[in-house]
Amino acid sequence: MSIVPISENDQPEELDPKRPEDFTALVKLHHSDLLVYGQALARDSATARDIVQEAFIVAYEKVHTFDVTRDFATWMRGIVRNKWREWLRKNKKYDLSDNEVARIDADVAAWQANHAAAGSPLFSALEDCLDKLPETLRETVDAFYYEGRTGDEVSEVLGVAPAAIRKRLQRARTLLKQCLDSKLEPEEES
């Protein structure tokens, strides 16, 4: 897995979350990546949105404690993580191991850094990678994720055994992840 380390230089210097207009810009810049983070942790879109909203509210209320020399995205992920843990405690949901959380955190961190530094958002890269999937994998991904079908329904629609559908989706996710990671590699100067 290639991960671009977050450095202080990755965050545009002019964005200071203590300034309302900059906080607004930071919300717009980071909310999508944080939604992915919340979704990966909580596995539910509505919960992820609640968690991200609560996290930004907490961040705004405590913005005076934010050290401007630190990375805003890292700070926000920490708050999202805390909010997710609160949600876990209240709802007695499944937990993730520290390693799993760290892995998810690293993936999102890499894209937040890339987004902030190069203006290259995750979803644009994802669309590029989806276009490169083999047809059989693409139709499976489309049916499962974009048409909202269950695994059984995908199996029925495509006329493929459920086990094969599962394999296809796993393979598609692996390829997409590799493709996304490759887009994080620094581009060679021409």
Partner: protein, 299 residues
Amino acid sequence: MTPLPDSENTVESGERFINAALQEHARNGCGSDDELVHRILSETVNKSELRVRTERPRLDRKTMFVGSVAVAALLALTVLILSSLPFSGERGTDEFFLSVDAANAGSIDDTFLPGLQKRVTITAQPFEGTVDPVSSASQLDTIELSAGSDLQFLEPFSPSLETFPTRSERQRSFRISADKIDRSGDSIYYTGNVVVEHDEFRIEAEDVTVHRDGSDRPQVLANIVRVEQPTVNRSVIARSLTFDPVAVEMRLTGVYQFSAGTGQHDLELGDTLVLTASAYTVENPKSFEYATPSPDSSN
């Protein structure tokens, strides 16, 4: 903690990220989640300093008593001052009338929100500017029909209350009044004691935004809301609400209190309460299936 099902425990942790990215991309595409951004900004940088938060600190009895006396005195003084002034507090009001065609879609006239696409014609535009409530009746008389081939009115609209839409169309109208109205681009922001009135319900909110949501349907977003549906004896207090005026459907999140006829109902973080004129449902976070069509198929 409830352990993950076996089928999910085997999923590589690296897949959770790409899985979440796919789900979010499927939900919202490449664009930003405008509704979420709006909610966040409403609760942070755009939050009026005068807004009263719903989470109030607990006060002891003495403090409450002293505070109550002080507030009562202040209110009395305020009423006295206001009554001596030559005007009373005027609130702006916008009234929206929607006419829906067979395609079951609706939008606000593009003379009002220029960026909206139209599949349906709205029959009247909201009043421009702040309206004196005293003269609102006469304002109704000045509503102009926006021309369109798919108008649903049986008769040409004329400046008369008698030619208002039929009963079913009247249900698609609603009125928003607030202390302050700001119009900006594709959105209208209502702040300060906002009241949304509809045939089927009444919403009180700290702020309301009417804007386009990227599709062709107008969206009404509200924060810190109380919803009353007197005809079905329902009452909700929630952090945020999305109202689809065409479908007459409300989606509420952050529900603090919900009572419906038989009593109180508890909702959890992440639950979405969906209210329509006649029914309600609670959408719970779904346990995500990691491409596991059937749990035993892996054997």
